[in-house]
C-alpha cells in the first residue's frame, strides 16, 4: 500500500503538532521517523492508522482518503497494549476474531503465529507472566496475523533492553521480508533506524518538520553499523547531540 501526505496539519486545540507535512512512501518501503520527544511523529502514525483526522490537508492510502481505522493499516504500540485478561494466544486471536473469524480457527492460527515468533509453549500464559520481549513478540504476531498492508510501529522496542531489542529487530525484519507491508517506524534509537530502514526522516521539534531525509540501499542488513558512521553522526547532530570528541 502506498502512502501519501499532502500539506498535512494537525492541531490539538491550540497546540500545533504537525504543520504542512508532505511525504510519499512507496509500497514495501521501510521508513524510520526520528526526532525529539513530543514532536508529532506518533501523531503521523495515528493519522495513517485512522485514529486521528488531519486538521488540514490529506492523508491518502493508495490514493484514497483514510476514512477510519482498518485492520489493513495496523499499529504496534510501545508496550502494555496486550490485554491482561487474555492469554497470549487469546490476544493474537483477537485480531482475527474482531474481523469475524470463528474462535476455533482464530485460536488455531494464533498458535501458529506464536510459534512463528518462537513463543510455542507459551500459548496459555498471560501477558504479566512473561517478559517484555515476549510481550512484544506477541504484539508483532498480533499485528502480522491480520496480514496488514501498512505496519505502523510506535517505538515498538523502546522499553526493551539492548540485546532483546536487537533480537526483536531481526524477528521484525524477517516478518517484513516475508509479508512486504509498507512500514512506518517511529523510534528514538538512531541505530535501530539505520539498521532497519530504507529511508530515515529526521524531524525538528514541534511543529514537526523534516530536517533531512536519508536514503539507504541496504544490500545485506547487519548489526555492524560502522559503514553508516557518517550518517549516524549527521543524524545525531541534527537531533542536537554532539558526537565529536576532544574539541576545545
Amino acid at each position: 500500500m502506498q502512502l501519501r501526505f499532502e500539506e498535512v496539519d494537525k492541531q490539538f486545540g491550540q497546540l500545533e503538532v504537525i504543520k504542512g507535512f508532505n511525504g510519499e512512501f512507496a509500497q514495501g518501503e521501510l521508513v524510520a521517523l526520528v526526532g525529539p520527544s513530543g514532536c508529532g511523529k506518533s501523531t503521523l502514525l495515528h493519522l495513517v492508522a485512522g485514529l486521528e483526522n488531519p486538521t488540514a490537508g490529506r492523508v491518502l492510502a493508495d490514493g484514497e482518503k483514510i476514512p477510519g481505522p482498518s485492520p489493513r493499516r495496523t499499529l504496534v504500540f510501545q508496550e502494555h497494549a496486550l490485554y491482561p485478561w487474555l492469554s497470549l494466544q487469546g490476544n493474537v486471536a483477537m485480531a482475527l476474531e474482531l474481523q469475524g473469524v470463528a474462535k476455533a480457527s482464530a485460536f488455531e492460527q494464533a498458535a501458529a503465529w506464536l510459534a512463528r515468533v518462537s513463543l510455542d509453549g507459551f500459548e496459555h500464559y498471560y501477558p504479566h507472566q512473561v517478559s517484555g520481549g515476549m510481550r512484544q513478540r506477541t504484539a508483532l504476531a498480533r499485528a502480522f496475523i491480520a496480514k496488514p498492508e501498512v505496519l505502523l510501529l510506535d517505538e515498538p522496542f523502546g522499553a526493551l533492553d539492548a540485546l532483546t531489542r536487537m533480537a526483536l529487530q531481526d524477528v521484525l525484519l524477517e516478518l517484513i521480508k516475508e509479508h512486504q507491508p509498507t512500514v512506518l517506524l517511529v523510534t528514538h534509537d538512531v541505530d535501530e533506524a539505520l539498521y532497519l530502514a530504507d529511508h530515515v526522516l529526521v524531524f525538528s521539534a514541534r511543529p514537526a518538520k523534516v530536517l533531512k531525509t536519508f536514503n539507504f540501499t541496504h544490500c545485506e542488513k547487519s548489526h555492524d553499523l560502522t559503514a553508516f558512521a557518517a550518517e549516524r553522526t549527521e543524524i545525531l547532530r541534527l537531533l542536537g547531540i554532539k558526537t565529536e570528541v576532544g574539541q576545545p
Binding site: 492508522a49 485512522g50 485514529l51 481505522p69 482498518s70 485492520p71 493499516r73 495496523t74 499499529l75 504500540f77 502494555h80 497494549a81 490485554y83 491482561p84 485478561w85 487474555l86 483477537m94 485480531a95 476474531e97 474482531l98 474481523q99 498471560y126 504479566h128 507472566q129 498480533r142 491480520a146
Partner: protein
C-alpha cells in the same frame, strides 16, 4: 519483595473460622448473662432452626424472599452494567447519570416504600423495585467509574484491529472493568439484601424472612428473632462469600495465576 498480598488456603479458612467463633462467643456470653426469655442461647436457637426449616410455611416465605431478591438484584445488575458501560463511552450521558445517581443515592431505599406501596399496591412488586433501586446505584457507579480508567492504548489497539463500537464494549470495556464490576456487584448485593429485609419488615403482608423476623419481635418470641437473624446472616454470607467469590475467581482468573 515477595510478601504475599493475600492470605490463601488453610490460613484463610482459619481466619474465617476464628471470626465466626468470636461472633458466636459474644452471643453465647450475652445468653449466659441475660435471662433466657430475653436472649436465648445458641443450642436453643439451633434447635428452633432445625424444627422451623421443616415447616413448609417457613420454606415458602424463604423462597418468596429469595425470588424477590433474585429478581430485584438481577434487574439491577443488568441495568447497572448496561448504563455504566454506555456511560463509559458517551461522556455527556455519563455526567448526567452520575449526577442523578449522586442525588438519588442519598435517599435511603427504604424511604421509597410508602410511595411504591400506594402506587403499586401490596405484593411483590414494591419490594422488588426497592431492592433493584438499592442495588442499581452502586452497580452503575462502579462500572461507570471503572470505564474512565480503561487504558486508551487498549481501546486504540482494538480500533486498529477493526473493532466496531459493540465489539469495543464487549471485548475491551467489559473485561477491563470486570474487577470493579465484581466489587460493585458485591457492594450491590449488600445493599439489595439490606433493602429486602427492611422492606419486608416494613410491609406486613405476611410472608418472607423480614416479615417473619418482625412478627417474632411483635410477639416477643426471642428465639424466633435470633433464629431469623441467624438465617439472614448465614444466607448473606453464603451468597457473598461462596457464590460471588467463586464468580470473581472465575472471571478474574488471570489475576490469580
Amino acid at each position: 519483595m515477595s510478601q504475599p498480598r493475600r492470605l490463601t488456603g488453610p490460613k484463610k479458612y482459619l481466619a474465617v473460622a476464628l471470626a465466626i467463633l468470636f461472633i458466636l462467643l459474644i452471643w453465647q456470653a450475652a445468653a449466659w448473662s441475660l435471662p433466657s426469655f430475653l436472649m436465648p442461647g445458641i443450642p436453643t436457637v439451633l434447635e428452633r432452626l432445625f424444627s422451623t426449616v421443616q415447616e413448609p410455611e417457613f420454606r415458602e416465605g424463604l423462597y418468596g424472599s429469595m425470588s424477590r431478591l433474585g429478581s430485584g438484584y438481577s434487574f439491577a445488575l443488568l441495568f447497572g452494567i448496561g448504563f455504566g458501560l454506555v456511560g463509559g463511552v458517551l461522556f455527556f450521558f455519563r455526567e448526567i447519570l452520575r449526577s442523578a445517581i449522586v442525588i438519588l443515592q442519598s435517599i435511603p431505599s427504604i424511604a421509597w416504600v410508602p410511595l411504591f406501596l400506594i402506587v403499586m399496591g401490596f405484593g411483590n412488586l414494591p419490594i422488588i423495585v426497592v431492592v433493584a433501586l438499592a442495588a442499581f446505584f452502586p452497580m452503575a457507579l462502579s462500572v461507570m467509574n471503572a470505564t474512565e480508567s480503561v487504558q486508551p492504548v487498549h481501546v486504540a489497539a482494538a480500533r486498529v484491529m477493526g473493532a466496531s463500537r459493540w465489539q469495543l464494549l464487549r471485548r475491551v470495556y467489559l473485561p477491563a472493568v470486570m474487577p470493579e464490576l465484581i466489587t460493585g456487584a458485591q457492594l450491590a448485593f449488600g445493599n439489595a439484601w439490606r433493602a429486602l429485609i427492611s422492606a419486608e419488615m416494613l410491609i406486613g403482608f405476611g410472608q418472607g424472612l423480614g416479615r417473619s423476623l418482625a412478627y417474632s419481635g411483635e410477639i416477643a418470641d426471642m428465639s424466633g428473632v435470633m433464629m431469623n437473624i441467624l438465617v439472614i446472616a448465614i444466607l448473606a454470607t453464603l451468597i457473598d462469600q461462596v457464590v460471588l467469590e467463586k464468580f470473581k475467581q472465575r472471571m478474574l482468573r488471570y489475576q490469580y495465576v
